[in-house]
């Protein structure tokens, strides 16, 4: 679950805490998503996009990798 949330958050000059509050989620959730340790729901992905002014593709799109494990 690689993504660009951390980069976008830093560009938006937000801490995990601030981003979490903007979205209404806990800091831990942001941390785990940035670390790729879990699989957020679409609604949460969209909320993150809105908070850092990016689209889904910019933050979460990954080409299919034929050798993907998982």
């Amino acid at each position: 679950m690689k993504n660009n949330v951390k980069i976008a958050r830093i560009q938006a000059d937000l801490t995990q805490q601030q981003l979490a509050e903007k979205i209404g989620v806990t800091r831990q959730t942001i941390s785990l998503i940035e670390k790729g340790k879990y699989n957020p729901t679409l609604k949460l992905c969209l909320d993150i996009c809105y908070a850092v002014n990016k689209t889904l593709d910019e933050l979460f799109w990954v080409e299919r990798d034929h050798h993907e494990e998982n």
Copy 2:
């Protein structure tokens, strides 16, 4: 949770059943997502994208609506 899955699925000439099998999910899950009745995980969104050859933005992006009722 409006999305364009149904349109893309039909364009790809797949039934809900066929799409579900391609992805490894049940037909019910596809049906509920198309009806906007729930909030799929990112992984499932990506699997749907791959199956119908669209990107996240094409299938799931929605501009923030200030009057969203969720």
